[in-house]
Amino acid sequence: MLQALFGLFDGIFNGISIGAVLLIAALGLAIIFGLMGVINLAHGELMMLGAYTTYVVQLAFRPLGEPLFSLYIFVAVVAAFIVAALVGLALERGVIRYLYGRPLETLLATWGVSLILRQFVRSVSGAMAISIAVFCLLFFGALWVLRKRSDWASMQKKAIAILLPLSLAIAGGSGFLLNQVPILARLWFSTRNVDVTAPAWLRGGIPFGISQLPYTRLFIIALTVLCLIGIYWFLNRSVWGLRIRSVTQNRDMSACLGIPTAQVDALTFALGSGLAGVAGCAVSLLGSVGPNLGTNYIVDSFMVVVVGGVGKLVGSIVAALVIGTLNYLIGSGTIAIILGGSGVEFLQPLVGFFTFFATASMAKVMVFVLIIAFLQVRPAGLFPQKGRSVEA
């Protein structure tokens, strides 16, 4: 009896901790989707950037030695947030703002960005970083200078047509030359996965019955709760939060009232991206960090958004926890074991059925089927927006 209780508690704890990871990954996605109707396929890559930031911060702290080293994780969370938010901001200003009202195209464009980011991490080196800097300096610097001229509008197209290939060529050439210098040619990150070592105080766990609750998992749950509180506070208590909520509800009206919707979009996108960075920092504690880290989480995060609906944050929370718990209960075979142990005759065929799905990947199959079934009942998710304005 005690054994079963422990088993159940263990299942719930693991479910919650998987749910927490999903939630922290989906949170940014849900906020961005709620505000702009945009799904960011590069969200997973922003997580990946967050994870790599954690790795870099950890490397930077290593020479400091204990006890300072153990505290690197707090710096890493903040750094990951900032790095991902900045990249997200650049993404919004550079790409997404041209695509509002075309959500499907946004999907494709952000996929393009995610490909570039993935390859960037693989092949970034000193030479490459310098040539990118050279390119930015030349191209955007020239644009900045030219934009001050009064006849800018008439020469805009021509100027870009000349500047772009020119600065690309210079940057490419200098990159090629710099690549001959061994120090600069060395890749920053190896193409193989890297590992983030958790600080000492996060190793081990609280012994509990037959298993133990790992500290890293507890840390992630705490981090998620902290993020949730932070987001809640930001959206409901700050000026910009109020603006974000008003634009979410009625963009045109907000614009008429003098709310700078473009800035709100940019800010929200940066915020959502920053959360992806934090999520990346969190998952770097769970496994090795590689360029494809994001893809493992991204589809599940999408499902959280789909099931949760865009109306409220609560939807995402419930959806993440339910999906996480279901994934664990089915994937670990807990259901099959409980059914098998129950000894009820007519349940026995079900045991075979659930055993068939009792692997991590097969659990996803089952959960997807359940999600599709759920959508037959609630097509707009748990907390849909209601009323006439929904389907204009």
Binding site: K386, G387, R388, E391
Partner: protein, 373 residues
Amino acid sequence: MSEKILDIENVTVSFDGFKALNNLTFNMEPGELRVIIGPNGAGKTTFLDVITGKVRPTEGSARFKGKDLTHLKEHEIARLGIGRKFQTPRVYLNLTPRENLEISCNRTKTVFDTLFKKTPQPERQTVSGLLETIGLSAQADVPAELLSHGQKQWLEIGMLVAQSPDLLLVDEPVAGLTDEETEHTGELLMALAESHSIIVIEHDMEFVRQIARQVTVLHEGSVLFEGSMNEVQTNPRVIEVYLGSEPSISTEEMTMLRIAASMAWSDGHFTNEQQDIILGRLSQQFAKDGQEQSTLQEELKDYLAKDIPVEDLVPLLKTPEEREMALKLSYEVLSSNQINQQKGVAYQRLLQALKLPPEVVQRVEQSVTGMVS
């Protein structure tokens, strides 16, 4: 055909506790042209949503020619013969007007027939005819996204007709149109009304007056009033809803006010002087002291309505005394300025409509003349 074409009983629609429609009952005879008006948020569009199946009523029933609509899907309702035009024109922008109409005109709307059957000759002719009617023959083969707003409105009305429904639901057909286009649209709807039942939702009162025979006023999700346009314009509750305050005068008094005003308007000029006389006299009649009079005078300005035929107003007055009063007021107004020919004709029409005995008329006229001189 005693059966109602549309019969809606006790329909309630609530979104998260907010009742967009509240216990609404409405019905319509076949061949009727009904205009629905109401302030913003009265539930006009939700009302159409319920009929077309876009919104399911929380309670109540909706029947079309005796068939229950509440469990049918939108396309099934459309196939029964209910066509809807949306508030903003919604046409297929990447198709030409001809293709737009052909899609609506198609009689067999199953997947199989759409795949394997060609557009039959009669349908082609119907479409050509319709293009002529809505004035888009010349633009028949360019993408609809190139059409102007008015042309799109017309194209959508054309699509509605092409569907050959028994009941047309038209949501704000003249929003954003020029006066000329508005008038054309009115004519088009009147022509359609000869062979269809039509519900029109509109804000533009001029337009409503042009087409309306029977008007339903919605307010806070239920029917506030139903009647002719004149009855609507003189109904105190409707006025309250639209103007936000309850009039302190009765319907009869308001009618008198309007009759007198229509005299002043009959030659197309309405001077401030005339207005002051009408309002001053009326307010004197019903106010107790000077201050009350002046407030009443201010208030009455709101209720002066233009262009209501005298023949429609007079029947609203019940007693001979009220009619006498109306005559007195009108004569005062007329004699305050020079009486020209138009005013003379209008006065004669009024006399005919009032049907007062000649001696009464004479007495009133004399008393007014005496007072003025």
